[in-house]
Symmetry: C2
Subunit: 256 residues, 2 copies
């Protein structure tokens, strides 16, 4: 299966450190070599990078590792193809628009017999179960709430229910963001950490890289990192429970 990385913060933060370790899993320390992608919100806009090369070989991944794009919400994915051939249109994350906001979606898992009726609001471009699930999610949000975005509690409740429903078809580890929050559903394997004052040093498990966050942060910064497998070996990560759904806002996990 694939691997997921998400970041949610209270101030725009770069993801260079975490992405460096994560990208190493795309072909070097792990077998996820069937493409990768990353999307950064900046204000209402999104920078979206996808590639069907292994992340370790990709010039675009090299750019991301060197160019500190600052964002409050980031979703990244490295792919081990299960459904859908190796092609650009099958690389996560996927992006669509709903309610005048971009939505970014990535999935790790494998949905069986998942063929929801799509009413035409959103069509998959590629052939993955994942993009089908994304189209279904947005269609159902639009169907339930019409053309006006609901308050966060109602939105979260709907996403939680839809995630549970989709997860009946197989593992559905989900990251979804509209730029204001990061919605996460875990079926099988996700971990998170919240870094905040007092910041300490962190050391990547996958690469010989350390960073002292106290040198690059202010005392009010708060950064949540969510990932399939912990990225560092000297910090305490919290494992998601199977079936757990969390909403990360301003760098903190909530059950909103």
């Amino acid at each position: 299966m694939c691997q997921l990385l998400g970041m949610n913060c209270n101030v725009p933060t770069d993801i260079v450190f975490s992405f460096t370790g994560f990208a190493t899993r795309g072909g070097r320390t792990n077998h996820h070599a069937d493409g990768w992608g990353i999307a950064f919100f900046e204000g209402a806009g999104v920078r979206h990078f996808v590639d069907y090369q292994a992340a370790v070989d990709s010039p675009v991944a090299e750019l991301i590792k060197r160019y500190p794009i600052k964002s409050k919400n980031v979703i990244a994915h490295i792919r081990k193809a299960t459904q859908g051939r190796i092609a650009l249109e099958n690389c996560h994350p996927f992006v669509r628009e709903l309610w005048g906001r971009y939505w970014v979606f990535a999935h790790n898992g494998d949905l069986k017999d998942f063929a929801p009726v799509l009413d035409g609001a959103y069509h998959p471009v590629g052939t993955t179960d994942s993009e089908r699930a994304f189209c279904y999610l947005l269609q159902e949000l639009k169907r339930r709430f019409g053309d006006t975005p609901p308050p966060l509690p109602a939105l979260s409740a709907a996403l939680r229910a839809l995630s549970t429903q989709i997860a009946a078809h197989g593992p559905f580890n989900l990251m979804l963001s509209d730029g204001s929050a990061l919605f996460v559903h875990c079926s099988t394997n996700l971990h998170y950490i919240v870094r905040q004052y007092p910041f300490t040093q962190a050391k990547l498990s996958d690469d010989d890289v350390s960073v002292d966050f106290s040198e690059v942060t202010t005392p009010r910064d708060r950064v949540a990192i969510i990932v399939t497998e912990p990225l560092t070996n000297n910090e305490t990560w919290t494992a998601f429970q199977s079936g757990e759904f969390k909403v990360f806002i301003e760098g903190a996990p909530t059950n909103a």
Copy 2:
């Protein structure tokens, strides 16, 4: 106003040469320094790069100049803000999905009193007249043809009529692609060239760069380049007429 660059080919071709000259206009040889963007179709997928920095200063533009992404349909834009602030969400090209295809749109012009009724199928994320026009175009295609894409002649006729209608509000130099064709409408300023066998040398107007296309092509290659102002000074470019609409397919202009 902004500047546009499009490429349509019969074999996947890189745009490094043309983009190098074009990007120079984003802040060095011209005053278009309010952001830029480029989108490449690869199969059904799209690589989409946008930046609100001037193209001459952008590390992402530097990557594009060095990394030969091969594509049959490319649209690029450098921005001189007229409507909408300098922000990522206001950078062209814009991308949306219709009929399970991605559509890429860029516009040069300035639409006055353009406030079409948007029925909810597509909402602008940013605040430009351009993105509003894009949402309106796709909405009208969906309204006219439903959930099934029409044959190309019907699609072209619809786009031609919609372009004329929108251009009543001000300059509407348009580039639009669904990955199979490049649709172009000219209000004020666009030029094109078709490069095919026998290929010759071309020299950029904006930079001290030449390329001998005969060394990097095969005899059956055909590449159309469409741009606001001609990019080379030793080739013959054809100017669009005001109100002209053309469909570029497999590297050739048609009136389809």
